[in-house]
Amino acid sequence: MTVHMPVSLDEAVDLLVANPGARLLTGGTDTMVEVNFNRLKPTTVIGLRKIAALREFSISSEIIEIGAGVPYARMESGPLAEALPALAAAARTVGSPQIRAAGTLGGNLGTCSPAGDGLPVLAALDASINLRSPKGRRIVPFADFMVGVKRNARSADEIIESVTIVPTSGFQDYAKVGVRNAMVISVASVCFVHDRKSSSVRVALGAVGPTIIRPRDAEAWLAERVDASGVLPADDAIATEFASRVAAEARPIDDHRSTAAYRRHAIETLTRRLYLRSTK
């Protein structure tokens, strides 16, 4: 029955080797709910909050790296928000200021809930997840990282260290629907990224499937309609058709938060809205 608070990543990796099955903890906003409601009784916890390297980020024109322990509050405004507007938009929708002061991308990735607000952004930006173990660093594309509802490709001896993102040039944004504006878990969410360099649009859907969904067929359909300079046509008919194709690739279910039909409708509306916003 021990709580370890390592101050370096190497120390944390050693502790995880020495304590197989230890619970890794960053902001605590998921884990402590489980504990408070007696759904989880941890015996050994490795808290990652005191590891300075996990709370840093770096931004260059080629690559953006965000430590797994950077709280959402630091993505809402400042350099990260300027570099990644979709991440900032998603960060602003996470819980309340208290939750955003604690919650992290590392925690979102560790939990891997389909409703995690950071995850559609990572999916749409084709982020890589950097995992650290005694064997060194393993880099996993987001598409291979999240494998199911609350299931991911992290091995038992690995710690999520950071995410890396290649910056895009063009509009990006995130929109979600919940039961009210503040303090809400996503019922359906869309991240929309337009990259002029590759003349592509990348879309990712949250809370409408077992994993974050990339509607690849709809993305390919739209790619054929982007001109060589990478400009998206400001065309209502294209926006509507694209949104309908995106919604068709969602795999929503009925549950205590919403119905499948409403979620599909919300995905269509949010996608159309984001598309038109991108052409303004």
Binding site: M1, T2, V3, H4, M5, P6, V7, E11, L25, G27, G28, T29, T31, M32, V33, V35, N36, F37, L40, K41, P42, T43, T44, V45, G47, R49, K50, P71, A73, G95, S96, P97, Q98, I99, A101, A102, A182, M183
Partner: protein, 163 residues
């Protein structure tokens, strides 16, 4: 690094406090109330939705129900009890009383901490910034109008434009 096995020390309101015979999963809220006798922070939802347990940890306003207590070793914890050095009400607390922003009072300690945190970082917030900053604190009595009025008064008094 620090290991914690049943015994550890927290720094709460500037004082070192010993925590003994604890279970590893205890939240900071539980330890503050049940082990350290600091009853100001309230526990309601236990899942970070109501904000009534808001405290400052290393200067960040967080829900103490979602902080693993033993992970706060080496951090500075400030509760509603620690906002005033001499125990007299702060300007925020006085404004809450003056405006009738305290009704049943259960949400009040969390709101007071959240308002102090807001005004420490943004001394002249817009109405929308106040709403956003307090969006994690649920009050079922006031309808929030009196709370916003209290914040407005504190801002005005601190700026010297009202008394």
């Amino acid at each position: 690094m620090s290991d914690t096995t049943g015994f550890y020390e927290l720094v709460v309101n500037g004082q070192r406090r010993e925590v003994r015979d604890s279970w590893v999963g205890e939240s900071l809220l539980y330890v503050l109330r049940e082990r350290l006798g600091l009853m100001g922070s309230k526990g309601a939802c236990e899942q970070g939705e109501c904000g009534s347990c808001t405290v400052l940890v290393d200067g960040d306003a967080v829900c103490s129900c979602l902080v693993l207590s033993a992970s706060a070793v080496g951090s500075e914890v400030v509760t509603v009890e620690g906002l005033s050095a001499d125990g007299s009400p702060t300007d925020v607390q006085r404004a809450f009383v003056d405006h009738g922003a305290v009704q049943c009072g259960f949400c009040t300690p969390g709101l007071i901490v959240a308002v102090h945190h807001l005004l420490d970082h943004n001394p002249d917030p817009s109405p929308i910034e106040v709403k956003e900053a307090l969006s994690g604190n649920i009050c079922r009595c006031t309808g929030y109008g009196r709370i916003f009025a209290a914040v407005e008064t504190v801002v005005a008094v601190r700026k010297g434009v009202a008394k």
